[in-house]
Point group: C2
């Protein structure tokens, strides 16, 4: 490892910029986003994400493997900065920091960029509001082996620090596209990918429906559920039977139930 | 509604006591716990939980239905206190308070207290560490129609404010017992309830196993998974196949997948 620049002044302009990157506009202007935490940074490096900067503070390290991670990041082209304990506390987004914070370039993938197998298995989510839910949904899609996640009409920026965090870095491994619902529907239809959309108003139960073949599971937003557009255009509406309180399943829970039923049927 | 006592001084001893109740020891000493938020308080009232005190601050109200809720709580015996905006901000546990905070009595249910149907469907969780996970697991058990949740060797207090919150008040509807693993196992065996325990080391896939009949799904803790005890004694170990990152499913996600596969088979 070379000699990283050291930062201890809380007035350092780099620190101020890192704090600004928690908000969307400065993130978009700079074309970058924050990746905090050992696991998340490791996954970014595994997926060859070209980290631009890596800020670290040994006083916050939790394990033994941090120096190896720093060396790996530096070898991959990241510029390293060593921070004092106080300086890192200022830029850390998490309540319990682990002394590692990176800056990565944003990317945009289009529908046309997706390389899909003959029998695609996709997840389409509409207008999810809470970054934590979007991150959890990405984790579920990764675990279920979805070939891509398509976010329609987004309310939440996919580069929000809470998305990165709740996804535990899976954001770097699941192909993710952001687009408008009508374009997504047209694209799915062109490829003869069947859309199965969950809504409490459906008659059919999700597990009584054939979820094999080219499939896109469509999930609505937290507060409003599926939009009129997808209610009108989805091939098969399905519901999840619920025994308890009417609203005891949230969108992330409904997503994982539906995805893993598809996994079961497809295996 | 009568004339509730008004509190605006931040030095009021009642406010200090409310803040103390965030910690377990003062909670256990007083035998009470905090229930914050409209939905959670409504569910407590629906389930006839005898709320002792209800603190409210109209400046924080989000909707129109709060006065009706207050009247209902008062009719059920709760003592009302009206707080200034600042006073409520001091006692609110949530980041975005909605002006409602109640104090409810703790309860203890024993295994012997559970009234089970002929074909019980139970969830057993071991030593869950994060209150948010325990709350989410309670929600899943409620949605899946589990007859009870049994928490073994708890690390997290079931009356932690984050459990109440993440459970969205389902804590009041799902029968919940806390006990030690050997006692729980003996009780299950006596009743011939089969234990199906999830562990990545299992050979069988959860959906290839018969989950009908008297069933207890057993889940390990976040960090350590299933304990040696349950690994040795559970009737059927099963695993959830995962396509993505090794740790992309957390315990709450694994729980809901397994419970809803059981629901599917049992329906």
């Amino acid at each position: 490892m070379g000699s990283p620049e050291k930062i201890s002044s809380l007035q350092n302009p780099r620190l101020k910029q890192l704090v600004k990157l928690r908000d969307r506009r400065p993130r978009d202007e700079a074309g970058v986003f924050l990746v905090e935490g050992y696991r998340e940074i490791r996954r970014a490096l595994e997926k060859k994400v070209p980290l631009q900067e890596l800020y670290f503070a040994p006083d916050w390290f939790l394990g033994e493997n941090e120096p190896a991670l720093l060396a790996q990041a530096e070898a991959a082209g990241a510029r390293l900065f060593e921070l004092s304990k106080e300086a890192f506390a200022k830029v850390a987004y998490r309540e319990r920091p682990d002394g590692l914070l990176a800056v990565a370039p944003q990317w945009r993938r289009r529908l046309e960029d997706l390389a899909l197998p003959a029998t695609p298995f996709l997840l389409v989510v509409e207008a999810i509001e809470k970054p934590g839910n979007l991150g959890t949904i990405l984790r579920s899609a990764d675990a279920a082996g979805c070939h891509a996640v398509i976010v329609c009409d987004p309310v939440t920026d996919i580069f929000n620090p809470n998305v990165v965090r709740a996804s535990t870095g899976v954001l770097f491994s699941v192909p993710l596209v952001v687009d408008e619902s009508p374009r997504v529907l047209a694209w799915l239809r062109e490829r003869r990918i069947r859309t199965v959309a969950t809504t409490p108003a459906a008659e059919k139960i999700y597990s009584d429906v054939d979820l094999r073949g080219p499939l896109a599971v469509v999930m609505g937003s937290e507060q409003y559920g599926l939009s009129e557009f997808w209610l009108a255009h989805a091939d098969t509406p399905v519901r999840i039977p619920m025994a308890g309180q009417a609203d005891s399943l949230n969108v992330a829970m409904a997503t994982i139930i539906t995805l893993f039923e598809a996994v079961r049927q497809r295996s």
